[in-house]
């Protein structure tokens, strides 16, 4: 039994989720594959979005996968770090914008 919740080797087994639910698994992977094709956004741009989101949702598998994907596409480390900051800025902004709710509630409750 693995002593860790996350094993990097599990990423390779991702496709196995179809074994326990073939239809849904296949639909997901079809959708996933389609999403990352060249479209109105380039595959390169989508790779950077995926990297930013991977950090926001704190998925170690996704971080491994999209760091490697970025390297394969020739994306520079500066571009990758800027993408991570974009994700982090939205995430911290999402926290801070709730400060307005706190301020509203404070004002409402105060005489």
């Amino acid at each position: 039994m693995s002593k860790s919740y996350y094993d990097p080797a599990d990423l390779r087994k991702f496709g196995k989720i179809t074994e326990w639910s073939e239809e849904l698994g296949n639909k997901f992977f079809d959708y996933y594959g389609k999403v990352f094709e060249e479209g109105a956004l380039s595959a390169r741009e989508k790779s950077l979005i995926a990297l930013a989101v991977a950090h926001v949702v704190k998925c170690p598998y996704c971080i491994d996968a999209y760091t490697k994907d970025g390297l394969q596409r020739g994306i520079t480390k500066e571009e990758m770090m800027e993408a991570v900051h974009a994700g982090a800025a939205i995430e911290s902004g999402a926290t801070l914008v709730h400060g307005v709710q706190m301020m509203n509630k404070y004002e409402k409750l105060s005489m």
Partner: protein, 362 residues
């Protein structure tokens, strides 16, 4: 831990594996690893079994189109990914006598492409004579694989762009990235600036011009344990960056996958990336790439005249499985009946869009 190993590799990288008496300088040891437990235990399929499923085993040659001649392993650089284990300390250099044997074949073969590689081919003392003689044979496409920095390495090489032009040589040059950091990390400090300067010198004599006939192509190898992506997308990025930043023009970019042999294998093992890399190669296996894999239209000749299915097999000392094993016994008919020698490193040429010395194949 990994970091300190990588620092050790970097220090060692000033010399070849051979000079460092690294265990991986032994081709037998490399083949043991490539046939090792990952495949022995059935975790990953042997290349032979994989292509057999597509009805491609044994792999047979088609019409010979490319004669690739390795004129020596000496090089002015010691790149971290080099499958030749080339470097200044390598003394294997093709003699004029072997070159004469090659010329006899060049004059009679039906191959449309002659491809000179190394090491740095220009460091062979008979290089210029060989180019002059070979260019008389009327080969359609005469390639020299130049690492670029050689042009600036010594005064005696400064006129290489003019020399190439005079003999209508098609220059194919390595350029791992359009940024300094990645290039120098893979190929050594200062390589980027020298490569840029050399490309500008080639442009100055007319190489790489959009409508020009003097062909200048670049080769991109990933600088690490990952595969190259779509060649045309990379070409677009390279063209844009090199034009904007340095006013450099070139024709095509060839994306070449690093094969898990020699110095790159050493790096993969030391950085604990070997298993993942082999998985990536096998997962990216593309039957369409097997159809056009370069060993089916190429013969590789080593500095000492032995014949191989490709330059990678040459570095693993896997000679052609044919009665004609040496350039002095070269025979088109005999060679065209051979079975191509394969091992697990071949997954490198069949991954994704495939990989060959001319870039993607599928």
């Amino acid at each position: 831990m990994t970091q300190s190993i990588l620092t050790d590799i970097k220090k060692a990288a000033k010399k070849s594996l051979k000079a460092n008496q690294n265990v991986l300088a032994s081709t037998q040891k490399q083949l043991e690893i490539l046939n090792g437990e990952l495949f022995e235990d059935g975790e990953l399929p042997y290349f032979k079994d994989k292509i057999a499923k597509n009805g491609m085993f044994p792999l047979k040659p088609k019409k010979l189109e490319v004669l690739q001649i390795n004129v020596g392993y000496m090089c002015n650089q010691v790149c971290g990914h080099c499958h030749v284990d080339a470097g200044p300390d390598r003394k294997e250099i093709m003699t004029r006598e072997t070159m004469e044997q090659c010329l006899a074949v060049i004059q009679n073969t039906g191959a449309h492409t002659l491809d000179l590689t190394g090491g740095a081919p220009e460091m062979n003392p008979h290089f210029r004579w060989f180019v002059e003689e070979a260019s008389k044979a009327g080969i359609k496409d005469f390639i020299v694989r130049s690492n670029l920095t050689i042009i600036l390495a010594n005064k005696k090489y400064h006129d290489l762009p003019e020399f190439f032009k005079k003999h209508n040589v098609h220059v194919v040059s390595s350029m791992p990235h359009y940024t300094r950091g990645k290039t120098d990390k893979q190929r050594g400090d200062g390589v980027f600036d020298k490569s840029i300067k050399a490309l500008q010198m080639l442009n100055q004599v007319g190489y790489g011009m959009p409508d020009g006939d003097l062909r200048l192509d670049l080769v991109y190898n990933p600088s690490g344990a990952f595969l190259p992506t779509d060649q045309s997308a990379m070409e677009h990025d390279f063209k844009k960056a090199l034009k904007e930043d340095f006013d450099i023009d070139f024709h095509n970019l060839f994306a070449i996958t690093n094969l898990p042999i020699s110095r790159f294998l050493d790096y993969l093992i030391a950085s604990d990336n070997y298993e993942d890399y082999m998985y990536s190669l096998v997962e990216a296996y593309n039957p369409a790439a097997v159809e056009n894999v370069m060993c089916t239209n190429t013969i590789s000749v080593s500095w000492d005249g032995w014949l191989y299915d490709c330059d990678f097999n040459q570095m693993l000392d896997l000679k052609v499985a044919s009665k004609a094993k040496h350039i002095k016994d070269y025979n088109d008919d005999v060679l065209s009946n051979r079975d191509i020698v394969i091992s697990q490193h071949c997954y490198g040429c069949t991954a994704g869009a495939g990989s060959s010395c001319q870039g993607s194949v599928a």
